[in-house]
């Protein structure tokens, strides 16, 4: 499974991680991001299981300045 976040790409060739583990690795709060199915561009529904074939985008929603 591939996870994209801005310029970073995380690759999980074997074990599929949980959403929590992905966020922990990226150092992000669940309140600050949306999980998007990179193939369809749609939001990934809560509870929908992640699979090894998926490509996911973790999209930051925080804006500042």
């Amino acid at each position: 499974m591939k996870v994209r976040y801005r310029d970073r790409v995380l690759d999980y060739p074997e074990k599929v991680p949980s959403r929590e583990k992905i966020l922990k690795e990226l150092g992000l709060s669940p309140l600050a991001v949306l999980f998007v199915d990179a193939t369809t561009g749609h939001l990934l529904p809560p509870g929908r299981a992640l699979t090894a074939e998926m490509e996911i985008e973790v999209r930051a929603v925080i804006s500042g300045g």
Partner: protein, 311 residues
Amino acid sequence: MHVVRCKVCKEHEAILKLDTYRLNLCQGCFDDFVLRRTKKGIRDFKMFGHSERILVAVSGGKDSLGLWDVLVRLGYKADGFYIDLGIKDYSAESKRLAREYADKNGLTLHVRSVPDDFDGLGIRDIAWRTRRKPCSVCGTLKRHLMNRIALDEKYDVLATGHNLDDEVTTLFGNTLHWQVEYLGRQFPVLPAVDEGLQRKVKPLIYLGEKEMAAYVMVRGIPYIYEECPMAKGASSLFYKDVINQLEAHSPGTKLAFLKGFFDLRERFRTEQERPTLTSCTRCGTLTTTEVCAACRLKERLAPPTDAGGVD
């Protein structure tokens, strides 16, 4: 396959979990949620009516495009206003997205350009030359141009896409530094001042960043989601992270903090809040000083008119 159902209609699959409300919502119920929360903000703070002309400040980001979309869907007379800040690729892309939304929906978008007004200089150059922070210069010029166009084009109200997270972050920063004067002015509605400064409103006061990002996604509205390059390292981003940690620990904290402040706000209001306003001697905009902040910036950039002290 495990499917989480919408907590409202109990029929469709949920597309989003709203942690603050412990709600899983399907696309239709989430859309309804956003419209209702915006209506509530407009109603609670008596922001505007359907007969008034609204100018929405549009940056090309999720909040401003989402706000414009919601207001139009709610039947308000809302036009857009985009300011080209001259931040190279970022401005080009955000302007393209703002135009694209306007054209696709047959809406009016006014465009003004900072470089056109400042001899080709963008925010970064103006900030560097005047030794000010880019976000400070940006705020000054945006306020100036927004007031100017609202007055010239006879709009009743100026609406900005500030959301719940923005307002809580501002409140957090003002409280942390005890900026009492700013606390006295922080509110979702700033009334019009004479004929020169139009009413300013923040209809997304009850909606967070995540909700607005999800809204534009489900509505299929392309928006710029890269952070403004000038905002890198801004305190507000750090504060938002801290506030999100508090919210994750105790859902509802953001809303309770802001609502509690609104209840106490009168205590921070002082007589100094309504200073005497006069017309800027250079451009005519209402200001508290002889020359407005935007014209002072221009003067600091202008080359000296005499050699001063050279024999």
